[in-house]
C-alpha cells in the first residue's frame, strides 16, 4: 500500500476536511494536526450550522407547549431520539435517554439501578482499563453499599484477561460494567462475549461506549447489553449531550435519578406521579439544541458510513504503526489485536509532558498524561503518563508523517 493514498474511494478526504473549519487553523505557524480525537472530536459544518439553525428558527422549550415553535422544537427533539434509536438499533425510543454525556449516564445507572441491585457483601466487576467515569462511580457505590469492587486484569498487550474474568464471577456478582473501547489503549474489548458470559449468570452489563460510538456500528439488540452510555462530543456532535440506553424492563424498575419538570406526570403538594419512559429520566429543560443536533451528527456519520470510517481509520493506524516502528526508542502501550485508531506511547527516557509540549510547537495536538485512566497507567503499567495520538477519519497520512518527524525532533532535542 502506498502510504500516502487512501484506497477508500467513498470518502473524499480533501472534500470532507473542508467541512471541518477548525482544521484550517494554524498553531505556531503550522496547520494544526489534531490528534486528540479521543478527548473530543471536531465538528463538521452540518453540525455547527444545525445549532445556529435551531436557535434562528425554532428555539423553544419542548413538550407541553401548544404554540408552533414549541411543537416544532418538540418534533425535532423527538426525531433526534428516533435517529439515535436507529443508530444503535434499540427496540423502542423509550429506551433512549438524553443525558449530559457518558459520565452522566453511568452515574445515573450507578445511582438508580446500582443502589437497587447492589447490597452489602455483593460484588461489582469492572476492568483495570476503565476510564475514571466508569470507575469512580462504582468505587463510590461499593463503598456506600459495603460491596466489593473487582477489576478484570489487563495483560501486557492491554487486553482483558478473559480467563481471569470467568473465575471472578460468583453468586455475589450483581453488576458488570466494562468499557467497549479503551480510551488510553485503543483496545476493542470482546464485549459480546462478556455479555454472554454475564447473562449466563443472569448478571446485567453496562457498556461504556464513549470510544466505540465514533468508530464502529453499535447494535444494542445484537449485543443484548442492559445499559450502554456514550457522549455526543466524541462522535462529531455538540458538547453537553449524551445518550443512555437502557433495557425497558430495567428503566421501568428504576427510581428517577433527578426530580423536576418534564419527568412528572402529575404533582400535588403531597405526592408526585412520575412520567413514562424516557421522560422519567429527563428532569428539567433538556439540552434541546444539543439533543437535536446529536441527530445531525448521527446523520453525518451515516452519510460517511461506518465501514468507510473504519477502513480509513485502520489505514491511518497502520501508517502510524509503520512509521513509529522505524523511529526507535518508542514504546507503544496497548498492542491488542483488535484496536481502534489510537496510539498511546512513550519515548524511552522522555517525559510525556516534554514530548507533548514540543509537538504542540509543531502544530501537533496530542494528549499527554493519564487520560483519565490513572490506575491503569500508574499502577498497572507503572508509567508517569503516556503520549496519546488518537486519529479520526479526517486525519491525513501527511499529518501522521509530521507526527513521526516531530517525534524524531523531540528525541534529538531531549536525548
Amino acid at each position: 500500500m502506498d502510504a500516502h493514498t487512501s484506497n477508500i474511494e467513498s470518502i473524499d478526504i480533501t472534500k470532507i476536511r473542508e467541512e471541518f473549519p477548525i482544521l484550517l487553523r494554524k498553531i505556531s505557524g503550522q496547520p494544526i494536526a489534531y490528534f486528540d480525537n479521543a478527548a473530543t472530536s471536531q465538528k463538521p459544518l452540518s453540525v455547527i450550522n444545525a445549532i445556529s439553525e435551531y436557535y434562528e428558527t425554532i428555539n423553544s422549550n419542548v413538550h407541553r407547549g401548544i404554540h408552533t415553535l414549541s411543537e416544532e422544537a418538540t418534533e425535532a427533539y423527538e426525531n433526534s431520539r428516533e435517529k439515535v434509536r436507529r443508530f444503535i438499533n434499540a427496540q423502542s425510543s423509550g429506551e433512549i435517554v438524553f443525558t449530559k454525556g457518558t459520565t452522566d449516564g453511568i452515574n445515573l445507572v450507578a445511582s438508580s439501578f446500582g443502589t437497587n441491585v447492589v447490597g452489602e457483601g455483593d460484588e461489582v466487576i469492572i476492568s483495570e482499563m476503565e476510564h475514571h467515569s466508569n470507575l469512580v462511580p462504582w468505587q463510590n457505590l461499593c463503598e456506600s453499599r459495603r460491596a466489593k469492587l473487582k477489576y478484570i486484569p489487563v495483560n501486557d498487550k492491554g487486553e482483558l484477561m478473559m480467563d481471569e474474568f470467568r473465575t471472578m464471577i460468583n453468586e455475589k456478582t450483581k453488576l458488570i460494567s466494562v468499557v467497549y473501547v479503551s480510551n488510553s489503549l485503543g483496545t476493542v474489548n470482546p464485549i459480546s462475549e462478556i455479555i454472554e458470559i454475564a447473562h449466563s449468570f443472569n448478571i446485567p452489563v453496562l457498556v461504556d461506549a464513549a470510544q466505540a460510538a465514533p468508530h464502529m456500528k453499535i447494535d444494542v439488540s445484537t449485543l443484548d447489553c442492559d445499559f450502554l452510555a456514550f457522549s455526543g462530543h466524541k462522535m462529531y456532535g455538540p458538547t453537553g449531550i449524551g445518550i443512555l440506553y437502557g433495557k425497558e424492563k430495567h428503566l421501568e424498575s428504576m427510581p428517577p435519578y433527578q426530580f423536576g419538570g418534564e419527568m412528572i406526570k402529575s404533582v400535588t403538594y403531597d405526592n408526585t406521579v412520575f412520567n413514562v419512559l424516557p421522560y422519567k429520566f429527563e428532569a428539567g429543560t433538556p439540552n434541546i439544541a444539543g439533543a437535536i443536533v446529536l441527530g445531525t451528527a448521527v446523520d453525518f456519520m451515516e452519510r460517511l458510513g461506518h465501514e468507510n470510517i473504519h477502513n480509513r481509520e485502520m489505514e491511518l493506524l497502520a501508517h502510524a504503526n509503520k512509521l513509529f516502528s522505524e523511529i526507535g526508542d518508542i514504546r507503544i502501550i496497548g498492542t491488542a489485536e483488535n484496536k481502534t485508531s489510537l496510539i498511546s506511547f512513550i519515548i524511552n527516557g522522555i517525559h510525556p509532558y516534554d514530548t507533548g509540549s514540543i509537538l504542540d510547537n509543531f502544530g501537533i495536538a496530542v494528549r499527554t498524561g493519564f487520560h483519565c485512566t490513572q490506575p491503569l497507567i500508574e499502577q498497572r503499567f507503572k508509567l508517569p503518563g503516556t503520549v496519546r495520538a488518537s486519529f479520526a477519519f479526517y486525519n491525513t497520512f501527511e499529518e501522521i508523517d509530521r507526527l513521526a518527524a516531530g517525534i524524531r525532533k523531540v528525541k534529538s532535542m531531549l536525548l
Binding site: R64, G65, I66, H67, T68, S70, E71, E72, T74, E75, K265
Partner: protein, 145 residues
C-alpha cells in the same frame, strides 16, 4: 349501516366539508360548533380510568359494543378538543371494531388539522386515536373469542 357509509366515505365527506373553508378561522368555527354539539358522556365516566392521557385539556372517552358495532361517547373541558373528538367519533363510531382498527385516519392531514389546529394537539390527537383503537382492539378480541 356500515354498508351504506364506510369509514372511508365518512372521511371523504369531512374532507369535502372542510375544503369549503378557505381560512383556518372558518375551520375553527366549524370545529367549535361541532364541539358544542358533542353528545356529553355520562358523569360516571368522567374519572381517571376513562381519561385520555397526553392531552393538555382533560378528555374522557368510553365505547360500547351494540350488535357488533362500536359506539363512542366522549367529553372534554376544552371546546376545540371536543370538536376534534367529535370529528373522530363521527368517522369511527358505529363501525365494526376490525374496521376501526384498520382506519388510517388520513383525513386528519387532509383537512389541515395538524397544521392549523394548534400544535401539541398532535400529541393529544394521537392519544385520542390510540384510546379509540384500544377500545376497538379490546372488542375485536371479544368478538373473536
Amino acid at each position: 349501516m356500515t354498508e351504506t357509509k364506510t369509514i372511508r366515505q365518512k372521511e371523504d365527506q369531512i374532507t369535502d366539508d372542510f375544503s369549503l373553508f378557505d381560512d383556518w378561522m372558518s375551520k375553527y368555527e366549524y370545529i367549535i360548533e361541532l364541539g358544542k354539539k358533542l353528545p356529553l358522556i355520562d358523569e360516571t365516566y368522567r374519572n381517571e380510568s376513562y381519561e385520555v392521557k397526553g392531552c393538555q385539556s382533560k378528555v374522557w372517552l368510553n365505547a360500547e359494543l351494540k350488535d357488533g358495532l362500536l359506539y363512542y361517547k366522549a367529553d372534554s373541558d376544552a371546546v376545540i378538543t371536543k370538536g376534534i373528538i367529535s370529528l373522530l367519533i363521527e368517522v369511527l363510531s358505529g363501525n365494526k371494531p376490525e374496521d376501526i382498527l384498520n382506519a388510517d385516519m388520513d383525513f386528519i392531514n387532509k383537512i389541515g388539522l395538524k397544521e392549523h389546529l394548534s400544535p401539541n394537539r398532535a400529541n393529544g390527537l394521537n392519544a385520542m386515536i390510540n384510546k379509540m383503537k384500544n377500545f376497538a382492539l379490546k372488542y375485536s378480541g371479544e368478538n373473536v373469542n
